[in-house]
Amino acid sequence: ASACSSSGGRQEETATGADTPELTIAMITHEAPGDTFWDLVRAGAEDAAAKSGVTLEYFSDPEAARQATLIQAAVDKGVDGIAITLAKPDALQGAIDNAAAAGIPVVGFNAGIDHWQDAGLIEYFGTDETLAGEAFGERLDEVGAEKALCVIQEQGHVALETRCDSLGEAFEGESETLYVDGANMPEVRSGITAKLQEDADVDYVVTLGAPFAMTALDAVDDAGSDASVATFDTNADLVGAIEDGLVEWAVDQQPYLQGYLAVDGLWLYGTNGNVSGGGSEPVLTGPNFIDQDNIDSVAAYAENGTR
């Protein structure tokens, strides 16, 4: 599948963008390294950068104070634009202000839909975790679910907690939260198993990341429960699982698109002064349901690592 990539579009596309000024863009997220979701974000960002002849520097730290320091470092370097995830807006404010003072445009993506304007970002690409959670809850109602188990793989993570909370609010049935240690798959598995053994009423297991959906399937098996599994976010394996009907659906916020648009937005702003959403409206990338009905349109891209 990757045979043609050596002669791929990168060089050609770089060539096409050669007439615009060379920009350096820093992308700084709250990723805890090693999450498939951010793979897709980076893939989008890199593709956009390659296409526009942008030098992309990607850094991440889940701890807010250190993410702020990373932004400060980008300001020190004097990059031409910064794309950030605004998961913990208050802690980043100082660094954002410093960027503004240095005349560096900052865009937001993925998290912070409620805060990006106050924070002084020029544009925002992403979805709203609240919207996504609510959509998920409504979908649960549609399929007649009665009790959902929302599995959070990192306790205290703002976006994850928001998803479960808003899911719970929109969902008319009962919903419960289970915290597991995402760095320890066997424990995720036995934790979900234990919960299903303890509470036989659970008929939907909701995971907040694609790899955990796969593990939840095993746990459902182990517990001898007949609960269904649905999830937020996708990866290649999960697409296969939806194709096979193992996982009911996934709520997709199109991480590739988020990464792509964030870089592209900065490039457009830097080379042409464009502002997506006019500086007042966010550019939504989801939520978008992937299930057996539309999986075929996604599967091919998932294979490429872009969906």
């Binding site: 498939t36 760095a183 320890n184 593990t215």
Partner: protein, 356 residues
């Protein structure tokens, strides 16, 4: 030599009287209670009783099997970590090394289109190599194991993600579940065995087997003697001719082996796909299991059985909270409180016995 030096003892009467005069009677019970792992055993019993009382589902055999499984995934590594700790060192890289092994098996197999077992063999060589390197740097530089294994930890953490991404283009490996040998590997590392109506995960049996083996090595072989000596006082051990460096390197390689084993379980249990960002933080759980079980962080003291009990306490607590249906927000608090409860009971038992 001893034969040539035949001399009379200064009369056995005097010696015998010392024992009679000064050593109080000590019941077998008391002797049992003074063993290093018994405190934690009683801690385990208390934790078990707590959950047995408050959580109805905890009482079922199937639940117990889940608890055992959760304990075994920590417990298998805890066996090796306990050996290492008795030998006076510890290994912060143990958690991510497990993931490294799983990633390596998957990537070797997939990239070279090998049988899973061949990939596993290469991964085993890698895991042992990492252990060797840890030990070798340690004995060469005399640095504390905290520093050496912390750097290995950080480096492996980075390598896991970076190399996986480099090789597969994503932070998880390609799926190897359809490759030759996967089914048999899965049977060995991640199957379930029905025992009296309940499915018991095979890792539980491996865990007990490894614990028994390690206990035998520790108590009944020369190497075991050396491990205690090296941990208790490396200088003295060296002075009487114990190959301190080889023992330490061997211990790190043992941890490597167990990491490989756990990695194989991880990979086969996850249907042949391994996420590269995992394993971080587990090293503390392994160390915790060993220490709760009575191993001294400073080395030279402890048992493998204790570490097994320590892992079991953790497994019970973590799952028991779920079975008890306690407010999930408080989960870490409860885990911490249970840990404290278990070790305080442990300590209290030990004090009681030494006070007689």
């Amino acid at each position: 030599m001893s034969q040539t030096l035949t001399m009379r003892t200064p009369g056995p009467g005097q010696g015998g009287s010392e024992k009679r005069e000064r050593v109080g009677r000590r019941s077998p019970l008391r002797r049992f209670l003074a063993r290093p792992e018994v405190g934690s055993l009683i801690g385990a019993v208390v934790v078990f009783a707590v959950f047995f009382a408050v959580a109805e589902p905890f009482r079922q055999a199937a639940s117990f099997s889940t608890v055992l499984y959760a304990s075994s995934t920590i417990g298998i590594m805890a066996v090796a970590v306990a050996l290492l700790m008795i030998g006076g060192e510890f290994d912060l890289s143990a958690g991510v090394a497990v993931v490294t092994s799983a990633l390596a098996t998957a990537m070797f197999s997939y990239q070279f289109s090998l049988n899973i077992w061949a990939g596993a063999a290469l991964a085993l060589a890698l895991a042992l190599g990492i252990g060797f390197l840890n030990g070798w740097i340690l004995v060469r530089t005399n640095l504390p194991s905290f520093l050496v294994t912390l750097s290995t930890f950080l480096m492996l953490q980075g390598l896991n993600i970076a190399v996986t991404k480099l090789v597969t283009g994503s932070v998880s490996t390609d799926n190897v579940s359809d490759m030759d040998g996967f089914a048999s590997a899965r049977a060995v590392f991640a199957s379930s065995i029905p025992v009296g109506g309940v499915d018991v995960r095979i890792t539980v049996l491996w865990w007990l087997l490894f614990a028994a083996l390690a206990t035998w090595v520790l108590m009944r072989t020369r190497v075991g003697n050396w491990i205690y000596a090296v941990g208790g006082n490396a200088e003295s051990a060296r002075a009487v001719g114990v190959p301190v460096k080889r023992v330490k390197i061997g211990l790190f390689m043992t941890v490597g082996f167990f990491a490989w084993f756990s990695g194989m379980h991880l990979l086969t249990a996850a249907n042949g796909v391994q996420q590269s960002g995992e394993g971080v933080g587990n090293e503390l759980l392994y160390i915790m299991a060993a220490v709760v079980g009575g191993c001294l962080l400073t080395g030279g003291y402890g048992t493998v059985v204790g570490a097994v009990i320590g892992a079991f306490i953790y497994g019970m607590t973590r799952q028991g909270i779920v079975y008890a249906g306690w407010d999930n927000n408080w989960i870490m608090f409860f885990v911490g409180a249970m840990l404290l409860l278990a070790v305080v009971i442990n300590m209290w038992v030990r004090n009681q016995t030494s006070k007689r």
